[in-house]
């Protein structure tokens, strides 16, 4: 069972006393500060297969493996386009030598030729 923490500091505008367990006040309380803890990548991980190291090193900086594993079965050409988009459009610092390795891993484990 995962527990996700939330801490809310409440500073109320309304000053009327409200007893515990009463209905929420009619006037919305002004929440001054909200802090949450996000649960990271949950249980999502890349498949353990040849090339996973380079994929983890390059892809996980920006997104969880769910961005890959929830896609439909993409072709090698589509995975190539995705890797190119990450590098060119989103500025991911993927080395030229790594890009084909990433495409091969994705095509083998999450795609089709």
């Amino acid at each position: 069972m995962k527990r996700l923490a939330l801490v809310v500091s409440l500073a109320l505008v309304a000053t009327a006393a409200v007893s515990a367990f009463a209905a929420p006040p009619k006037k919305a309380p002004a929440v001054s500060k909200v802090s949450i803890t996000l649960p990271g990548d949950l249980d999502f991980t890349f498949k353990n297969a040849p090339g996973v190291d380079v994929v983890q090193a390059n892809c996980l900086a920006c997104h969880s493996s769910a961005y890959v594993s929830t896609q439909p079965i993409l072709t090698q050409a589509q995975w190539t386009a995705e890797v190119t988009k990450m590098k060119v459009a989103y500025g991911a610092p993927i080395a030229d030598i790594d890009a084909p390795k990433i495409v091969e891993y994705l095509t083998t484990n999450y795609g089709k030729l």
């Binding site: 995962k2 923490a5 929420p24 909200v34 996000l38 920006c62 997104h63 969880s64 439909p72 500025g91």
Partner: protein, 401 residues
Amino acid sequence: MTDRRTFLASAASSLAALSVPNTARAADSTVTLPFENGRRPVVAYPQKRPMIVLTPRPVQLETPFSVFDKSVFTPNDEFFVRWHLSGVPTSVDGDAHRIFVMGTVGRRLTLSVDDLRHTFEPVEIAAVNQCSGNSRGFFDPRVAGGQWTNGAMGNARWKGVRLRDILDRAGLSAGTKQIRFAGLDTAPFKETPLFVKALDVDIARGDDVIVAYEMNGRPLPLLNGFPARLIVPGWYSTYWMKMLSRIEAIDHVEDNFWMKTAYRIPDTPNNSVAPTDKGYATIPINRMRVRSFVTNIADGAHLVAGPQLVRGIAFDGGSGIAKVDYSLDGGTTWLPTTLGPDYGKYSFRQWSGPFRPRTGIPYKIACRATAVDGATQTSTPTWMPAGYQRNIIETYAVTAG
């Protein structure tokens, strides 16, 4: 276990800043959506009830579709979540937050949420917020992108101030072409384009575009953009900037990645193309297409025979819903429905019609909304490589017994 309502009530009673751990917990469950690679965990994120996790980082949460049958307004703690960049702020001070109004203006403004609440005329509007890619998982052929079913949408009462009033206080310079917006989220690399969106000035100055600080009478959940977000009724939610921190008037057309490359639709009839088409012009996505759904009966349901209702929701890009028809035979014959209360032209509009299924007969329920502007739905899907704007007539195969 303390539920959220009790938590809020007891927190409110103390009249002092306090820290209380949320007892929300993840449901130990998964759901399998009806397409390839559709298995998803169902998890209660902070300030949220259990929702379908599309991706945990950046966080994207889909509303379970049964939620849309409970109320015409989508609860804040079940409202979908979609962030683009991994730098989602997890701690936001609503008192210290400032919205900077700058650019081609007579005078710059620095506004707190308190300034919004107390120095502008408040307005409240019911409006549907829908992701451009809602229902992308149903595209055929499939396309890359966030694989949502139909739950990347929600309807809320948004309270705030008119963007036009803010712009008028700043005084737009002649020659202002667009207003661009940024929030507090950050990019992982300096080469990553920051999430910035822009609206033409005439759209930005529209009557109903607001900077909202309340959602259904409450502060926004952090993941929905606390403490303030832009509301662009009738338009897809890519423009509804969360954690709004910058409003900038510019004398040109914004050409960053998020406007020039992403969130564009083919400039073709029905914005539709064939998968093999290349070289067509594109335009920024804008107003939502008319849609309708059945909310009380799921596809594949086995019902108890006898009299009952089919009910659902409809909405469009801001002209309002004129009528919703429904069919029990997959669209061969259509019947009128009764529309529910009218919460305004941007809101979900509920509808219902009688249904008396008999044992052993297969039914194919369908619904078709027609907007005030005359637009309606068809049974032929449109297609584009980005997977936006799905609005096909939905059908639901059911039996009874």
